[in-house]
Subunit: 264 residues, 2 copies
DNA sequence: TTGCTCCTCACGTCACGTGAGGTGGC
DNA sequence: TTGCTCCTCACGTCACGTGAGGTGGC
């Protein structure tokens, strides 16, 4: 049995791992050497531990986190499946996320970092029906979609304009934020008033994932001219999924600012 | 002008960043406050710094690293383009990498972590023509492809078998490793002998990116039976890109082991 | 006086890689 | 005796988030 023990370097070569990684797995309790010399601290592994070490190597090559691998090594047969399915979902989400970022980068390369097309306007107040919700930023799309559907259903055939999303400007992109969707309707009981007033506005053409580009342009423009946002941003979905592909969506973004005279 | 200075909290709200991030960008020299109160250490920003802060926020949302953003803020117009193209390439590479991992995970979910189909064999020695190169693991595919093409060209119509890749087993997946491709030919001047002997062998069916699964199975099998690899691994490309789609590739992997009698 | 804002440490994240400085075994 | 292997710290990575503990301004 003693013959069966190998040093850490030899074991690392057998398992195609590094010595440093094996020491790390020892510290983390993932894979303990079969024997540690009390005097020297030398680690010795049994050859039959190579199976576990190989499994660690395979799963790490697939980017499975060490705590998940720990569960897999517990020999619970369901743990393997859970780990693999979890990793599949994680990888799929990471790919989707990066594909969205890539699309935005491609757009910035093609069109340049946008600057100018900002206009000042005086928005009229409107009567609207409102659907509200809260959403984490990555869930914003579906949540707003549902709000739009709800509000449209409530408005029925009294719809008098395209949906308007209302978003806090100081939402920090991290936590849940409150969102609202307003549908313009003829004045009637149950409707609310969406305040009017002076705004800075820009038009965004393209998928909703690239809306941050438009906010960047709009806010840069504002600050360069000494304006300060006075409230929530609004997005008017002039052309959306009902009638176009993402590249053709048209969204008008407005941010309320102080009245022209008050400014200087 | 003094009116123009805002506290860090207010500035953070204007730029949709956190106070912590602004302090971090100050420390890193990315975005210095226009004024720091000597007595209290309070940071004050000019409103017209909001443009730079917004740009940092946009680029960070695209996962551009801070050192690259520093270059962008240098106002070199080419720097923006370099940064965006660099980020595009980085994102594309990350997506490709994860897609490969995902395919491997999917396969493991579908087929289970493989175990058994390992056989012992006694390989004959062969006369071969050899092409050699070194490759980082992520460049392995194209490099081996070129070696195969070179070796096949050298062999001409004397080809007497499918290509055989030869790989060190202690390549640590990190650095450059030497690779060789051997093409069996009729004995002739200029040919080398590829040694024969006892091996453990398994068949891998599917894309080359999933070959690590087969190595895991093969090595686990070996170690569970007390065998030790005695040299380099070989891959016989029985069915490859010339005649099939990746899912249909057939590869025979062998690892030399000690002779049967020597083992116990 | 009460909140709110701001400050500076210090630590944690994730899975190691990279030295520094020293010892053990054939 | 010479290399080679092995050991334990300690630090760096990347861009922050999360407290702890304390102070300044209306």
């Amino acid at each position: 049995v003693d013959e069966d023990l190998v040093s850490i370097g030899r074991f690392a070569r057998l398992c195609r791992l590094t010595v440093k990684r094996l020491r790390h797995y020892d510290e983390q309790g993932l894979l303990r050497p079969a024997h540690v010399d009390a005097a020297t601290g030398y680690r010795y592994y049994r050859r039959d531990q190579a199976g576990e070490a190989l499994t660690i190597g395979l799963l790490r090559a697939l980017d499975v986190p060490l705590p998940v691998i720990t569960e897999v090594l517990s020999r619970d047969p369901e743990a393997v499946d859970r780990a693999l399915r979890g990793q599949r979902d994680r990888l799929a989400a990471e790919i989707r996320h990066r594909e969205r970022l890539l699309a935005t980068v491609q757009r910035l390369i093609a069109d340049g970092v946008p600057g100018a097309e900002v206009t000042l306007a005086d928005e009229p107040a409107r009567q609207v029906l409102v659907a509200r919700a809260t959403a984490a930023p990555e869930r914003l799309g579906p949540v707003v979609g549902r709000c739009i559907a709800d509000a449209l259903a409530a408005a029925g055939d009294r719809v008098a304009g395209c949906p308007i999303g209302v978003y806090p400007l100081d939402g920090l992109e991290t936590a849940e934020m409150p969102v609202a969707v307003a549908i313009p309707v003829a004045a009637e009981p149950g409707s609310e008033t969406l305040a009017g007033g002076p705004v800075a506005a820009t038009i965004h053409i393209g998928a909703y994932e690239q809306v941050p580009i438009a906010y960047h342009a709009l806010l840069s423009w504002l600050y360069a001219r000494g304006h300060t946002p006075l409230g929530e941003a609004r997005e008017e979905y002039l052309v959306g999924p009902a009638t176009a592909e993402p590249d053709g969506y048209v969204t008008r973004i407005t941010i309320p600012i102080e009245a022209e005279g008050a400014h200087d």
